[in-house]
Symmetry: none
Subunit: 206 residues, 4 copies
Amino acid sequence: MRQKSLASGNHGGARRKRPPGRPRSEQARLAILRSTLQLLGENGFSDLSIEAVAADAGVGKATVYRWWPDKAALITDAFASSTGQKLHFPDTGSVHTDMSQQMRQLVKIFLSRRGRIVSAILAAGQSDRDVIAAFRDRFMKPRRHEAYATLQRGVQRGELRKNVDMDLLLDSLYGPIYMRFLIRHRKLTPDFVDRLCDLVLAGARP
Amino acid sequence: MRQKSLASGNHGGARRKRPPGRPRSEQARLAILRSTLQLLGENGFSDLSIEAVAADAGVGKATVYRWWPDKAALITDAFASSTGQKLHFPDTGSVHTDMSQQMRQLVKIFLSRRGRIVSAILAAGQSDRDVIAAFRDRFMKPRRHEAYATLQRGVQRGELRKNVDMDLLLDSLYGPIYMRFLIRHRKLTPDFVDRLCDLVLAGARP
Amino acid sequence: MRQKSLASGNHGGARRKRPPGRPRSEQARLAILRSTLQLLGENGFSDLSIEAVAADAGVGKATVYRWWPDKAALITDAFASSTGQKLHFPDTGSVHTDMSQQMRQLVKIFLSRRGRIVSAILAAGQSDRDVIAAFRDRFMKPRRHEAYATLQRGVQRGELRKNVDMDLLLDSLYGPIYMRFLIRHRKLTPDFVDRLCDLVLAGARP
Amino acid sequence: MRQKSLASGNHGGARRKRPPGRPRSEQARLAILRSTLQLLGENGFSDLSIEAVAADAGVGKATVYRWWPDKAALITDAFASSTGQKLHFPDTGSVHTDMSQQMRQLVKIFLSRRGRIVSAILAAGQSDRDVIAAFRDRFMKPRRHEAYATLQRGVQRGELRKNVDMDLLLDSLYGPIYMRFLIRHRKLTPDFVDRLCDLVLAGARP
DNA sequence: CAATAATCGAGACGGTACGTCACGTCTTCTT
DNA sequence: AAGAAGACGTGACGTACCGTCTCGATTATTG
């Protein structure tokens, strides 16, 4: 694990006393993350300079480097800090409805200003394995676990095959969305999500 | 307007005579593209400096800038020039076989050294619309046209629904591959390709 | 001798026949020299690029390099070609009048647009001995020979000491002008010339 | 506004506290000036590249540009920093002796390795008024003020006319030296200095 | 009249230095 | 001890000229 910031919680357990000296400025930390997100949204990954982040946050450059080893860790942290509590799966009694509703929310995010941040993360991840790992762990994995449960309910209700490969099924549902999001060869619409669910879930029926 | 190198064909038509001045060195052009691909494969997009490309190619920096406006155009061209005549679709009489064979070839490329170049292109494309457009036009579009024909044969043979949305179907087939390629949350294997075809094509049957 | 151009006359003597091949374009030669003078007058020596001269003269760069080995030879030639037939010494019967009249003409030139060219030559001459030598040979020496005669007349008329060191005297007269011209610490005026002659010639009286 | 290094004295008066941030490296400043003088002495002005100065001084190019806007400012500063406390005027009771002794020292400098630097400054000054102004202000003016005093003593002793034009007289003394230094048409010798003083001071007697 | 030869313009070539920018590190004073 | 400030050495950026080269076109002499 590279970045220190999120690991600094020290909440439970040993109850270590605070080290001597001036404590870390929470205000600076938040300003840095906020500026990072803002500049990421404006210019994409390659144009994001730590120099600009520090200036925008009204912070010394060294303060950034003290807590984040490099640009990748910084945007990873910034992205994680911005991940709201949305994107949950409903439980409507229908796999199709459960999935398509969540997928529509994802699409809405991809099409919003935060989509630029996601694509910046994925781009940065192509040359930094820590970044892509952070994306998987912090953004993807929690949702995928919820998705497993949603699919499981579908299996129990007999909407899906018993032996369905859930990862394959989920990749078949989300892959096309990521593809259109990143390659932009076709529009990403709610209607597309519906027809995608129609097609793929049809192939997974018992 | 400077041509972007590959547009300099001047093949048919007006029979324009060569413009005055020393003609462009084909040798330099090839050396630059070759060095670009090599360095791209070694270090990824962000570590690729035009300075290094020029040095490696034994060429003046100005010669690179004379013909390519920026790094993105350079790697786009280099990638296009390396796109061989592979990746064709067979015609075996079965959509499943036709598609899965071609998809396996694609996966093989993604897993090879050239995969690094593809991911660099896609990453660069997230902050440069010309790059992603070039990827679509030069790499994706030709293959997708062949794919349409392949699917059309499947329709005529009754393997697929008459009114199938081909773009949706193709995105459902290739999207999962791109997703695993870029996010790397699961292995990209030939077996995965087969089961992916099973799943998706099952949903497209009449 | 460095430059070829002026030596290409081949006027008298051997009557060599013209060599085969296209002869040198006199028009190009003149255009180059004219453009050199113009650009020299605009921007001084260091900003004068052969690229700009060739462009301004509507001439290929190679044509410049074919006939002048470097920038110094070029401006030397250009300066020489621009040296008019002015700056002669009158013979009024008074050394003071003869000298001061010629010196005033020199000052007038120094203050005109051609002064910029002279200062450019002198500046270039500080890092290229051929340039300063050309300035001495082509500009200074002919006038100094006339000056010797003028002073000689003064000696014969009893206005100057018989054993006067003419070079010392001439340097004392012209040196202050060059100094003010180059260092610009005081104005260069006709009145200054007069008082300069008063002072220096007073010291050379019998 | 960036100070031009030597103006950063902040000596008397307001007692401003040091500004925040890492202070300027005096070591780097001195290394740069030293390297400048050395390279200037070797190759003259036009061959002096800031790249080479930085490399020779073991300093980043940006550090040079941070403090000196261009090559001219750099050599001006370097020259000024090298101008020792020499070249004072003695007070021997004779104008001729006072002047000629100082002028001989000047000639000695002109003929030494530092002469190359002076001629480089004067050359650069022909296309940059800041350079020639700096030469006047930092090198010439202080000495000229001493010279005024020296001449004044001569006036009081009755060696010079009461109403003598001091600037004219000084230009007549120094102009010939500068002329021979820059045009190099005659040798610059101690004997020349003596005879020059003889001639010019003779013209300034009461 | 054709062949030969040197010039011309244009402009691409491999280079060098330019002046700028951001990197990640450092040194200072302040909190 | 952490903070803001900002200078440091490093190195790539994209530009401007350098002096050389390779073109087709032009203009002369020679066979």
